[in-house]
Structures are given as C-alpha cells and as structure tokens.
C-alpha cells in the first residue's frame, strides 16, 4: 500500500524535475543564435501518460512508466543585426522563439509542485510512523 503511494510520489517528483529541466533548457537557449545546420530544439516533457489516466492493474500496483523529455522544433525569431557573425546575407540573425513568460511560470509552477509532492510524501511518512506507535506507548 505504502509502496504504491511512494511510487506515485516518485512519479510526481520525477515529472516536476523534468519540467524544471526542460524550462531551464529553453531559457538557456532563448538568446543563443541558431546554428543554420543545427537549429536549437526546445524541450517539452511528454504528457502522453498521466498517472490519473486509466486504472489498469499495473498502475494500481505502482508501476508508473517514467516521464520522458522530448525535443520539439522551435519557431524562428529573426533579428536584424548585420554586425553579428551569425548573421545571414540579409543581416538577419535567427534565434529560437521562446516564450519567456511561459517558461518562467512553468519554472515557478514546477518548483511549487515539487514542494507539494515532498509535502505529500512527508505526510504519508509521518502517518506510517504514527501507525507504528499504536499500542507502543505503555
């Protein structure tokens, strides 16, 4: 019983950590000019699986598949700057288009959700320890 809740908490922690990682990556590449041969990719955490979707036996047994980070094509943001060595013949430099507001909010959101998962875990742990105190006070 406890193991399954541990697995659920672990899934939540893993998911939030990956979300934070993806947002950090996107923020990190936001202001780096694109290499024409290898344009920057934006990271997203795969949400094809969510623990509350479906109640198959393996989920109930606590076997959650691990969340994965997937990369996606980034839209281009062109800036006119002929002095930049990365500029093309028209003097345009291409950057990956990153929505900084969205990335910052997902950063904050992931951090808070991680905290919430830790709180849930600690609550469960406290309950389990209290259960062991049953009848032991004498």
């Amino acid at each position: 019983m406890v193991d399954q809740i541990f697995a659920a908490t672990r899934y939540g922690l893993e998911y939030e950590r990956l979300r934070l990682e993806a947002a950090s990556h996107n923020i990190a590449v936001a202001n780096t000019p694109n290499d024409t041969a290898q344009p920057a990719r934006l990271m997203r955490v795969s949400t094809t699986f969510l623990p509350h979707v479906g109640t198959s036996a393996s989920l109930m047994a606590g076997h959650f598949p691990r969340p994965v980070m997937v990369d996606a094509e980034a839209a281009e943001r062109k800036v006119h700057d002929p002095s930049d060595p990365a500029a093309d013949q028209n003097g345009m430099v291409s950057y990956p288009k990153v929505d900084l507001v969205q990335e910052m909010s997902s950063l904050l959101d992931a951090s808070r959700a991680y905290e919430a998962n830790v709180r849930a875990f600690n609550t469960l742990r406290g309950m389990a320890l209290h259960a062991l105190d049953l009848g032991g006070g004498a």
Binding site: V2, F6, L13, R17, F121, A128, L129, L132, G136
Partner: protein
C-alpha cells in the same frame, strides 16, 4: 437383625490433566517463514538504498529524490521490523514472568 453391607462405590477413572495440544510444526514454520520473508524484504530495501547512495556518490546521474525515497522506504520497513521484534519480546517476557 441384618446389616446391609456397604455397597462398593465405583468411581470412573479420574481424568488426567488434559494435555495442551502442541502447536503443530506447520504453524511454527508459517510464522518463521513470515518473519524470514519480512527480513528478506527489509534486506532487499536496505541494499537497494545502499546501492543508490553509492551510485549517487560515484557521480552517476541519479535524481536525489530517488535516493531519499529509497532511504525512507528502508527506514520505514526497518522501523516496522523493530516494532514487531518489540512486540514479540514483550509477549515472550510476559509468558516467562508468569507466576504459576
């Protein structure tokens, strides 16, 4: 005058103290098996936590929360085993100290 002879009194065999039926060996094995399985589970959890801690220390890419969760799981199971041991020892002592 006639004296009526005393009739012999017949007493059925006095019941001996009934022996307690001994616990069948099967029951004992069941308890010992349960205890052994529990201890094996704790051992597996402890060694898993140990392996994760070693991997983290060696610089492998392991999230810290995985290690902490493994620690906590091992801790809870160990605590459970300690409580079981306390109860068993308590029961044993109350039996050995019983005044007959």
């Amino acid at each position: 005058m006639s004296v009526t002879p005393i009739q012999p009194i017949s007493i059925g065999a006095i019941d001996g103290a009934r022996e307690a039926t001994p616990l069948s060996s099967l029951q004992g094995n069941g308890f010992m098996n349960a205890l052994g399985d529990g201890l094996n589970g704790i051992n597996a959890d402890l060694s898993q936590a140990d392996a994760l801690a070693r991997q983290l220390a060696a610089g492998d890419k392991i999230p810290v929360h995985d290690v902490m969760i493994a620690f906590e799981q091992a801790h809870l199971k160990l605590q459970m085993a300690v409580e079981v041991r306390n109860r068993v020892v308590d029961a044993y002592q109350s039996l050995t100290n019983m005044q007959l």
